[in-house]
């Protein structure tokens, strides 16, 4: 189960990276990065997962006293939440950039923006 999740996560990351490194279209690159981000999040969750435990939500089902033994590690979950938020911000920023680039240059091809080099 963990292995599968880990595998899925890494597969998504590689897929995303591959996509980002091979697609020249800005939007496609952004999408690819989103996929990779998702993969990272999956990996994060998978690493924190402990078989047979429940979500780290302290409610009636999981009393505080048993929490340490019954819930999975809450830290990766917290990380994932943060990472998702940040990923959202970054994606939004990239989209904003893509939009402004398109407006300014009329192109979405990353290989068109090479006036800065050497």
């Amino acid at each position: 189960m963990i292995a599968l999740a880990l595998f899925t996560g890494f597969a998504l990351i590689l897929l995303g990276l591959y996509g980002a490194l091979t697609n020249r279209d800005l939007i496609r690159m952004i999408v690819a990065f989103t996929i990779a981000d998702t993969g990272v999040n999956v990996v994060l969750v998978a690493v924190g997962y402990l078989p047979g435990r429940t979500a780290p939500i302290l409610d009636a089902a999981v009393p505080v006293a048993e929490a340490a033994a019954r819930v999975i590690d809450p830290v990766p979950q917290a990380l994932v939440l943060t990472a998702i938020v940040i990923g959202l911000g970054v994606t939004a920023l990239m989209l904003a950039y893509a939009w402004r680039l398109f407006r300014a240059r009329g192109s979405l091809d990353i290989s068109d923006f090479t006036e800065l080099k050497w």
Binding site: A20, D37, L44, G89, S111, L116
Partner: protein, 1040 residues
């Protein structure tokens, strides 16, 4: 003390608070932002004060829980210093960005505040996930602030930056989660405390580290960052370099400290790769901001390498890395802010700065800070780094660092030289706020220099009287040149008188040449009117270096003085009209030589931070030869021994009229002084069966001969004199390498004689140049009647120099023969013998083609050289004649002193005559006999031809023809054509080709490597991925 959390809270609060400011009230928003920044800075300064007072570091917890359950921050002295630095940079940066910020409104200001908050957080936090969050915040803020740039290309740069940010964040996150998985904690202190539990922890740590390394924009995975540097608003680039770079390095340092020494080689390697690669690439760079970007990359790489070497540096790491980092922050921020004042983007466009000398001072200071020249922190850092590295046998690392520094010097001085020489009609912006920001960075740099000097535990360069005296001339710049000249002369003489009782006779000889000798040359500077901006500070810096050199008792003092005189003389030489390329090669060779000295001293020190010079004689036999080689290389670069000489002709020839004698007559002696120290402390050394002192003798003889031959073939009078200096220094080197009483006496006599006649000749030729505006000898001719005094001094100069009795050169030859008769070193003698008459050739040419022969039309009404230029010449004439008749005045004391050194007394002084084991020399007798004969013969001739018809230049027997024009009648060009046909093969520029080949290879490498940066963001991303993979393969490849 308020909690350091307030720094973050104020930043965030300010950012949110900006949202409350009504739209259209940009000024209010800006004030609020500045207020927030100021408040953050106040808190940071408070902590800095506390920490500097010696308080213990404080761990700050958040969410009222200790570390494993919550994020903790840590503030100690380094954090306080860095946060303060970053915030100062931020506050000044905000001012620099004010126009753009006001244009874009409160949103941008909020982003700036967030950036500053995130940078502070990055420095303070002890939690790796928190690191990630701050990195992402920085990343987002950076992408936002890049948009401040008026440059439309910045858009694409920002996008590329974001793409890389994504990759880094993926790496970082995976690294973080696996680290957490392995260690069960996110706090750095806990990771360090728990042993890595799970396999794969290594990979996790690798991912973490490599992600942080990529944040430092390492070569070659850094094209994206350079685009930012080039296109962003310079105010932001300053922040990006000084703030983000600094913070990121510190974050890496924190993680690296946790990761343990196993990762040190990786960090060192990547750091050095960056340092060298960036330096190489910058060699071909033409855009100022991109060049600064490369420089940032290189400097951060250097710091990374220093962090990687933390295991051997120990306590000193903070001092060294901090020194480099802070100097870099000040210099780089200052340079980016300066670039905002410069209208053009080419390197030559910085010529506009020349219209505001204070900015030139800033420019020069920043460059010196980046290269690590005294008195800036990088200098102390480099010294300690070298000591520590050598002590632990890490010579390759030291070698790379020094080579990288040389590359850095190459591109920075190339830039500076171009800025000083290029034509520019542009005027730099005169905005007072922007200027004030630059000056603030300048003040910070100098302040740091003083601080680091005080902290170093070595002698503080900035508090020595000569340096302070030299720096005082910066303040005196508004005064007229003549007043400054008086002060300078008084200073030199005064210092000499002050120090006189402490000099032993050996040092006295050098001191006489360097201090009062320098003062005599300065007499010629009275010719210059106006204010002569930029002349006295470097000149006095050079003299300060020489004064300190003579006073130096430890290796550090010696080295610091050496660097000072090098730096001062570079700026002096650069003042010449066409001297830019020559000054460039001068500084490169000099710094190369200085680095050889640094390595040599470090090797000798064996870990001792500072070593008394007289302790050099006690170093172990195993390393002594290597120390000898390194030091000898360093000193011979200064004396321009054959092979290391190619900088000299241009540098001496193209320098200003009164600078040429300074750098030739005086400065070269510094190298000789070094060799004297070297030989007297280390004595004879053998390396792989070769007697190194004999080797020196060979090099000296070769220099003496080839230098003379090359001088014969020069058309440029000053170049001729410059090559002659190489030859003369060769003689002196040979004399020293004879390693005997008489040999040293010979060398010391050369020190005095060469100073006298070379200064005189350079001044005379300079005076002629002043009138004729040419240095090409064949364009002159027949000036004897118009410039009789100059002719006379050249005449005396060449008689003295060629060794013809009765002038002082003969004494040198006499001692020379007596010295060599006692030596077994016979083969190099042949070359010395060859060199003697060859000297005659070029000297004759000098006097003949300038003063004799046919007077040219444009020169018919030329006046004698300016009075003040003649004054020192006539002083030299008097001294030369005096020294010829009474050599005992000085030599006798030195002779006695050398007797105590070598324990023998080969010369017997009876009255005014000298005799040796082999022969005798009666200077007064020679003078009287020659004068007697000369006057008698002259009287006979005069009695016979007193009524001779005085004729003019065309009244010559010209095969009964009438000469066509003076130009066609003056035999001067390629004067020694037959000699060239016979020995012209010696002219082959072997050394020039060799060094030129190295230079070409480097620039070709740079040109080739530059092509990596195609500007395609996707390719950059691929490079980053490949970079990570290769690093991974190197680290883990060996293990599997």
């Amino acid at each position: 003390m308020v909690s350091a959390l307030w720094i973050l809270a104020l930043g965030l609060g300010g950012a949110f608070g900006l949202g409350l400011v009504p739209r259209g009230r940009g000024d209010l928003a800006f004030a609020l932002m500045l207020g927030a920044l100021g408040a953050m800075l106040l808190v940071a300064l408070g902590w800095l004060a506390v920490m500097a007072g010696g308080a213990a570091p404080v761990l700050i917890t958040t969410a009222a829980a200790p570390a494993p359950f919550a994020i903790s921050l840590h503030i100690g002295l380094p954090e306080a210093v860095l946060v303060t630095t970053v915030l100062i940079a931020g506050a000044l940066g905000a001012l620099a960005l004010r126009g753009a910020l006001l244009r874009l409104g409160r949103g941008a200001m909020a982003v700036l505040l967030v950036l500053m908050m995130a940078l502070s957080g990055l420095i303070l936090t002890r939690d790796i996930f928190n690191l990630f969050v701050f990195f992402e915040l920085i990343s987002i803020a950076t992408a936002g602030l890049v948009l401040l740039s008026p440059d439309p290309r910045a858009l694409a740069a920002g996008f590329k930056y974001l793409v890389i940010g994504q990759i880094v964040s993926i790496l970082l996150l995976i690294g973080i989660v696996f680290t957490y998985h392995a260690n069960g904690a996110l706090g750095l202190d806990h990771i360090a405390a728990t042993a890595p539990g799970v396999a794969g922890a290594g990979l996790a740590m690798f991912l973490l580290l490599i992600a942080l390394v990529v944040e430092l924009k390492p070569f070659p995975a850094n094209g994206w960052a350079l685009d930012i540097y080039e296109s962003a608003h310079p105010g932001f680039s300053a922040l990006f370099s000084a703030g983000s770079g600094t913070a990121a390095v510190f974050a890496l340092a924190k993680v690296a400290a946790v990761a343990g020494p196993a990762w040190a080689p990786l960090l060192t390697g990547l750091g050095l790769l960056s340092f060298l690669g960036a330096g190489l690439l910058a060699l071909r760079q033409t855009n100022d901001r991109r060049l600064l970007g490369y420089s940032s990359v290189g400097q951060l790489g250097l710091v990374l390498a220093v962090i990687g070497q933390g295991d051997v540096l120990g306590e000193a790491t903070a001092f060294i890395a901090g020194g480099i980092l802070l100097a870099h922050a000040a210099a780089k921020a200052g340079l980016f802010w300066l670039s905002a004042l410069v209208p053009g983007r080419g390197l030559g466009d910085w010529a506009a700065l020349r219209r505001r000398p204070i900015l030139v001072l800033a420019f020069a200071s920043f460059i010196a800070m980046l290269i690590g020249l005294p008195p800036f922190p990088g200098f102390y850092a480099k010294w300690e780094l070298a000591q520590a590295l050598v002590a632990h046998g890490r010579m390759p690392v030291l070698g790379s660092v020094l080579f990288g520094s040389l590359l850095e010097a190459a591109f920075l001085f190339r830039w500076f030289g171009r800025a000083m020489k290029a034509e520019s009609a542009e005027v730099p912006s005169a905005n007072p706020i922007d200027t004030a920001i630059v000056l603030a960075a300048l003040a910070a740099g100098w302040g740091l220099g003083a601080l680091w000097g005080a902290l170093s535990g070595l002698s503080n360069v900035l508090t020595t009287i000569p340096v302070l005296f030299a720096l005082a001339f910066v303040a005196l710049e508004p005064l007229p040149a003549r007043i400054k000249n008086v002060i300078a002369i008084l200073g030199l003489v005064g210092w000499f008188v002050l120090r006189l009782p402490d000099y032993d006779p050996l040092r006295l000889i050098f001191a006489i040449v360097m201090l009062p000798g320098g003062a005599v040359i300065l007499l010629a500077s009275f010719t210059e009117g106006g204010r002569r901006l930029g002349f006295y500070p470097p000149a006095m810096l050079m003299y300060a270096g020489m004064a300190l050199l003579l006073d130096a008792v430890t290796t550090f003092q010696f080295f610091a003085a050496w660097e000072l005189l090098t730096l001062g003389s570079y700026f002096l030489i650069l003042r010449g009209q066409r001297s830019e390329p020559h000054a460039q090669s001068y500084i490169l060779f000099s710094l190369g030589g200085a680095f050889a000295l640094l390595a040599g001293f470090a090797l000798a020190g064996q870990g001792a931070l500072d070593l008394r010079l007289d302790a050099l004689s006690d170093i172990p036999v195993t390393i002594a030869p290597w120390v000898f080689v390194l030091l000898a290389l360093g000193f011979m670069t200064k004396t321009a021994a054959m092979g290391l000489h190619i900088w000299l002709p241009g540098a001496h020839a193209e320098a200003e009229t009164d600078v040429s004698p300074m750098v030739s007559g005086v400065l070269l002696k510094a190298g000789l002084y070094g060799i004297v120290i070297l030989l007297s402390e280390l004595g004879r050394q053998r390396l792989m069966g070769v007697d190194l002192v004999n080797m020196l003798a060979w090099i000296g003889a070769l220099s003496a001969f080839i230098g003379a031959v090359l001088a014969v073939f020069q058309e440029d009078a000053k170049r001729l004199l410059a090559y002659s200096s190489i030859s003369q220094m060769g003689y002196a080197l040979f004399g020293l390498a004879l390693f005997s009483h008489l040999g040293w006496l010979l060398a010391l006599m050369f020190v005095i004689n060469h100073y006298l006649y070379k200064s005189m000749l350079f001044l005379a030729v300079g005076g002629v140049y002043r009138r004729t505006h040419t240095k090409l000898m064949y364009q002159m001719g027949g000036l004897i009647t118009l410039m009789p005094f100059s002719f006379f001094s050249v005449l005396i100069g060449i008689v003295a120099m060629s060794g013809v009795p009765p002038l002082s050169g003969f004494g040198g030859r006499w001692i020379f023969y007596n010295a060599i008769l006692g030596t077994d070193l016979r083969l190099p003698l042949v070359m010395i013998f060859l060199a003697g008459p060859v000297g005659f050739l070029y000297l004759f040419r000098l006097i003949h083609t300038i003063f004799l022969g046919q007077l040219k039309d444009p020169h018919r009404q030329i006046k004698e050289a300016p009075f003040w230029m003649l004054v020192p010449q006539m002083i030299y004439v008097a001294l030369l004649i005096g020294f010829a008749v009474l050599p005992g005045m000085i030599l006798r004391r030195v002779d006695t002193y050398l007797g105590t050194v070598f324990g023998d007394h080969p010369l017997i002084w009876t009255g005014r005559a000298v005799s040796s084991e082999f022969g005798h020399w009666n200077p007064v007798g020679i003078m009287l006999v020659i004068i007697g004969i000369f006057v008698s013969v002259g009287a006979i001739l005069l009695a016979k031809v007193h009524g001779a018809q005085k004729v003019k230049q065309f009244n010559i027997v010209f095969s009964a023809e009438r000469p066509y024009r003076p130009e066609t009648t003056h035999f001067a060009w390629n004067f020694f054509a037959p000699y060239r046909r016979a020995v012209g093969f010696l002219e082959a520029p072997v050394a020039t080709r060799f060094w030129g080949g190295i230079g070409d290879a480097l620039t070709a490498g740079a040109e080739l490597t530059r092509r990596l940066y195609t500007g395609n963001g996707q390719l950059y991303a691929t490079q980053v991925v490949l970079f990570v993979l290769v690093a991974w393969a190197i680290i883990f490849g060996g293990q599997s």
